[in-house]
């Protein structure tokens, strides 16, 4: 993953987190705001109910007092105060009076608590309402909630009591309004809200006692747990009922206990607030937030991409410069301006490459000088050996001419023979150098490496077991189905031949020569191992340096030629050696060499390779040298 991509993803992640946090925050704040709004709506409705309740109560109180003050009622009280008064004549009066005063409940009750006339239960005349005759300041009590017995069953009423006193006799007027669907219908409710009334008239929860402005509430049993809790512990509470799996179908309720004059729970007002509008609004806001977030995300991504590109551009230039340097372009420079850290880094990079280039130039110069000195030393060494016999022979010839003419012919013949031999030796030396200088370009063709290896082993079989020298055992481990590669068979033959010769030289006391071919990624591998004396790490370091040799009569060009051949085929060679154990050369050859194999001349410029695992790679400029 590129630095730009990393930076982009970091920006993106940061953006996503930011958007997520903001979206979550907005959602939470919005939800809280809506819940607060709901709560205030419900509280407003509860307040409205309480005000309406109080207003209705006052109204009921006024109407009941109006009945008490009416002439007919006063006359009734006077008549009833007389001994043996006939109360039966008033048995139907409550109905008419309640109609006139628009009361749902009305009872005329005598001094002894007996019902004289009842509107809500006409047949109940004569029965007692003893609680009315208890000492009580009814005017001070005002209106109160009460459970009223009617012929249709108990009901909840907003009641008031007035008394008409004549002498020692009291006539009680108990009147009130029914609290039920009509009362709820009179409440003005905002859209999405509704008011329910549970009339706590039975010992246990009864769904039929839960009404709204149209009658009993459907699915009233869903309220049972909340109302049971309210019945056990009256108090304001809030709960929510999910009517559908969709959250929009849920409804939040605020419960307000309605208590009677003895603090007994007679009813519960439930203010329901449909969550549909809120949920839909929340959804709209969430969708809007998502859309804005998505747009922000897209814009953020684009900006992140642009920002990452802008930030990483100098870095990429630096990376490209570094890559160029790693590929050998020591003159690579980075064009980054600015006073920021990247700019400073680019300046340092440019300065570093400039210094590296100068140092490399100096190093090359020094290496060239060293190489020429080595060539000169080798040439001098090689040429000095034949020159000394030449000089001695010529001096012997001259001395023989001057001192002993008779033997001159014999000396002359011997001397010329020596001279010719040494001259031939010189020609050979020069030929070798000439051969190395004239390394041909490989002519590629299909080659089976196993065949090449077998041919070389067959060629050297006689020498492995030659008389007068310790035997060398050859072992072949050739990979079957080795792929055919594109190579120059002659050059390969020559390179491997050099390795075998080196191995033989490394095993003067005999040993085992092992040649292994393997199938490798993208090509084939060859390993030539001996059980010879081995090399020191220092020797390994210089092994492929041209004209470097560890042998008495070596030219130091053998391994250099091997490396040159391998390099020209786009392959690489490495050596592993341990003193006293042996040496192992590993060659990797690609199935198809690159089009422009490295030239032999360029290989001279890069002679240095690692020590114990010295290796040359295609295109590298390692110099060939003869083996140890």
């Amino acid at each position: 993953m590129t630095f730009r991509s990393k930076l982009f993803w970091i920006f993106t992640l940061a953006l996503l987190l930011s958007v997520g946090v903001i979206a979550t925050g907005v959602t939470l704040v919005t939800r809280r705001a809506f819940e607060d709004l709901n709560r205030r709506h419900s509280e407003a409705l509860v307040g409205q109910f309480e005000r309406e309740f109080e207003r209705r109560g006052q109204d009921v109180g006024h109407r009941v007092q109006g009945i008490a003050d009416a002439e007919g009622t006063v006359r009734m009280a006077i008549e009833l105060s007389r001994p043996k008064a006939d109360v039966s004549v008033y048995v139907n009066d409550a109905h008419g009076v309640s109609q006139s005063f628009q009361l749902d409940f009305l009872d005329f009750v005598g001094s002894d608590g007996s019902i004289i006339s009842s509107n809500e239960w006409p047949a109940r005349f004569g029965y007692k309402m003893d609680w009315l005759t208890q000492p009580q300041d009814w005017a001070k009590l005002g209106t109160f909630l009460a459970k009223v017995d009617t012929q249709d069953g108990p009901a909840l009423g907003l009641m008031a009591v007035s008394t008409v006193r004549v002498g020692d006799s009291n006539l009680y007027i108990l009147g009130g309004e029914r609290l039920g669907k009509d009362f709820l219908a009179s409440l003005v409710l905002p859209a999405g809200m509704r008011a329910l009334l549970y009339m706590n008239l039975d010992p246990s929860f009864q769904p039929a006692n839960l009404v709204d402005d149209s009658g009993p509430v459907s699915q009233g049993e869903r309220f049972a747990p909340f109302l049971d809790q309210e019945r056990q512990q009256p108090g304001k509470q809030t709960f929510r009922i999910a009517w559908t799996p969709d959250p929009a179908g849920s409804e939040a309720f605020h419960a307000l206990p309605l208590q009677g004059r003895q603090n007994d729970l007679l009813g519960v007002l439930l203010v329901g607030n449909s969550q549909q509008e809120v949920v839909e609004l929340e959804r709209r806001i969430r969708l809007l937030a998502l859309a804005v977030a998505a747009m922000g995300l897209v814009v953020g991504l684009l900006l992140s991409w642009w920002g990452a590109a802008r930030v990483t551009r100098p870095v990429r230039k630096l990376a490209a410069g570094a890559r160029e340097v790693s590929e050998g372009n020591w003159s690579a420079r980075v064009d980054v301006r600015g006073r920021h850290e990247i700019g400073q880094l680019a300046l340092a990079f440019n300065k570093m490459t400039e210094q590296l280039s100068e140092q490399r130039e100096r190093l090359l110069q020094a290496e060239r000088v060293a190489a020429w000195r080595e060539v000169a030393r080798r040439l001098a060494h090689e040429l000095k050996n034949p020159l000394f016999p030449l000089q001695t022979t010529v001096e012997n010839l001259r001395r023989a001419k001057e001192q002993n003419f008779e033997q001159f012919e014999e000396v002359f013949r011997e001397s010329t023979g020596i001279l010719l031999a040494e001259i031939e030796n010189l020609k050979t030396i020069v030929g070798r150098f000439s051969d190395f200088a004239k390394m041909p370009q490989p002519e590629l063709g299909p080659v089976n490496l196993n065949d090449v290896v077998r041919g070389i082993v067959k060629l050297f079989e006689a020498q492995f077991g030659a008389v007068g020298r310790p035997p060398i055992t050859s072992e072949l481990h050739l990979e079957e189905n080795l792929p055919v590669i594109q190579a120059d068979a002659t050059l390969l033959h020559r390179a491997i031949e050099n390795l075998v010769l080196n191995a033989m030289d490394a095993m003067p006391a005999g040993g085992v020569l092992m040649l292994c071919t393997t199938r490798e990624d993208g090509g084939v591998g060859l390993e030539v191992s001996d059980t010879g004396t081995g090399l020191t790490p220092e020797e390994c370091e210089r092994l492929f340096t041209p004209y470097y040799t560890t042998k008495q009569h070596g030219t130091g060009l053998g391994l250099a030629i091997v490396q040159s051949v391998v390099s020209d085929h786009g392959g690489r060679i490495s050596v592993e050696s341990e003193t006293g154990v042996g040496t192992s050369f590993h060659i990797h050859l690609p199935a198809k060499p690159p089009r422009a194999p490295a030239s032999v001349t360029s290989a001279v410029q890069n002679p240095v390779l690692p020590s114990s695992a010295a290796e040359t790679r295609p295109g590298s400029e390692s110099a060939p040298s003869e083996g140890a």
């Binding site: 039966s88 048995v91 239960w121 047949a123 109940r124 029965y127 012929q151």
Partner: protein, 384 residues
């Protein structure tokens, strides 16, 4: 002679001044139209055509009694229409009929020239018309007699001759439980019904015959016994409930049923009062029914036979027929047996109550089985 004549006149005068009556003894006057309003709707005056309901049948019988001279032994009218005190002068089926006084009546000519009968008038309308003087005669509910009287309407009531009773429907499980029947019978406060619901226009009924007819009604208890009822009801296993049906078109029955429910619940009896749309028939879900039975005759035996005939099919009263000529003791024994079974619970006796205008004179409420004596009444000359 003068003294004898004076004493005779004085005796006649005293006889004419009936206690409690407002009219004074005057010489009857011929002429005038008696305006009558009834609640029933009579669609045919032909005796052969059957009435649609008991109310129409009763009204048709009353009108027929004015048109025909006498009846056959089976109660049907004999002779032709017009042979009686009146003849039909105008007839609009279902709305009104005008009867003109027949000059050829075998007996004396009716005092009034005609009788106009408006049909299908509701009780409230009849009362209002009586109050404002738009009618001379109308039958009014007994429970409204007191109110009507307080509003200036002349009220005439017969002896109580209509029994209101709870009749258990045979075959219903709760109706077959003697404890349940007796518990309900003991829980009912009849006196309160008479005093409050009937406004004292009636009598508590303990037996199946009124005191004025049998003379033994006082032997049947009418007092409520809530404690006894409660004890009896507690002996019933399970948690039974009684459904008491009443005629949905009868406000008196509704009020009585609701009062019974109040009394019964006070005694711990589970009971509900339900209206029944088909009068006289037992609704499928009713365990008991409120029923009204009017005496066809002032004679105890005939009255008891009629009660058994009317209530027997519902209550499945297992009683042997009462032959003619049985003694009053036998009638009482039979009555006590029926009442003692508690399959029929007598509640109250109702009188027939009539409202009269101020100009109606010589009106006497008919006894059970008798017709309205319109031929005998006369109308006071209205002051100009």
């Amino acid at each position: 002679m003068k003294l004898r004549s004076f004493l005779l006149l004085a005796a006649i005068s005293i006889a004419l001044v009936h206690p409690g009556r407002v009219e004074t003894a005057r010489r009857p006057r011929y002429g005038g139209t008696l305006r009558v309003e009834i609640g029933a709707v009579v669609n045919s005056l032909d005796p052969v055509v059957a009435a649609a309901n008991p109310e129409e049948s009763a009204a048709k019988d009353q009108i027929g009694a004015l048109l025909y001279d006498h009846r056959n032994p089976d109660g049907t009218f004999a002779g032709v229409a017009g042979s009686g005190a009146f003849r039909i002068a105008a007839w609009e089926p279902g709305k009104h009929v005008t009867l003109a006084a027949s000059e050829n009546n075998r007996g004396a000519r009716a005092f009034v020239d005609s009788v106009e009968i408006q049909m299908g008038r509701q009780a409230r309308d009849r009362l209002l018309d009586l109050e404002v003087g738009n009618t001379d005669f109308a039958q009014i509910p007994a429970e409204q007699a007191r109110s009507a009287s307080e509003h200036g309407v002349r009220v005439s009531a017969s002896d109580p001759d209509e029994l209101v009773a709870v009749v258990f429907v045979a075959g219903r499980p709760i109706a077959e439980d003697a404890h349940a029947r007796e518990a309900l019978a003991r829980s009912i406060d009849r006196a309160a019904m008479v005093n409050f619901i009937l406004q004292k226009e009636g009598q508590p009924a303990g037996g199946l015959l009124p005191q004025w007819s049998s003379g033994t009604a006082f032997l049947f208890s009418t007092a409520a016994d809530a404690a006894g009822a409660k004890q009896l009801w507690s002996q019933i296993s399970g948690s039974p409930a009684i459904v008491l049906g009443y005629d949905s078109g009868d406000s008196l029955e509704q009020t009585v049923a609701e009062r019974i429910a109040v009394n019964a619940r006070d005694a711990g009896i589970s009971i509900t009062a339900e209206s029944v749309t088909s009068p006289g028939s037992a609704a499928p879900n009713c365990d008991a029914r409120l029923m009204r039975v009017r005496m066809p005759s002032p004679h105890p035996r005939e009255a008891l036979v009629n009660v058994v005939a009317m209530l027997g099919p519902t209550a499945a009263l297992d009683v042997a027929p009462l032959p003619a000529g049985v003694s009053s003791d036998q009638v009482f024994a039979r009555e006590r047996a029926i009442v003692g079974s508690y399959r029929v619970i007598p509640l109250v006796w109702l009188p027939q109550v009539y409202g009269l205008s101020a100009r109606v004179r010589d009106w006497n409420a008919p006894a059970p089985g008798e017709s309205w004596p319109f031929a005998d009444v006369w109308l006071e000359q209205e002051s100009q």
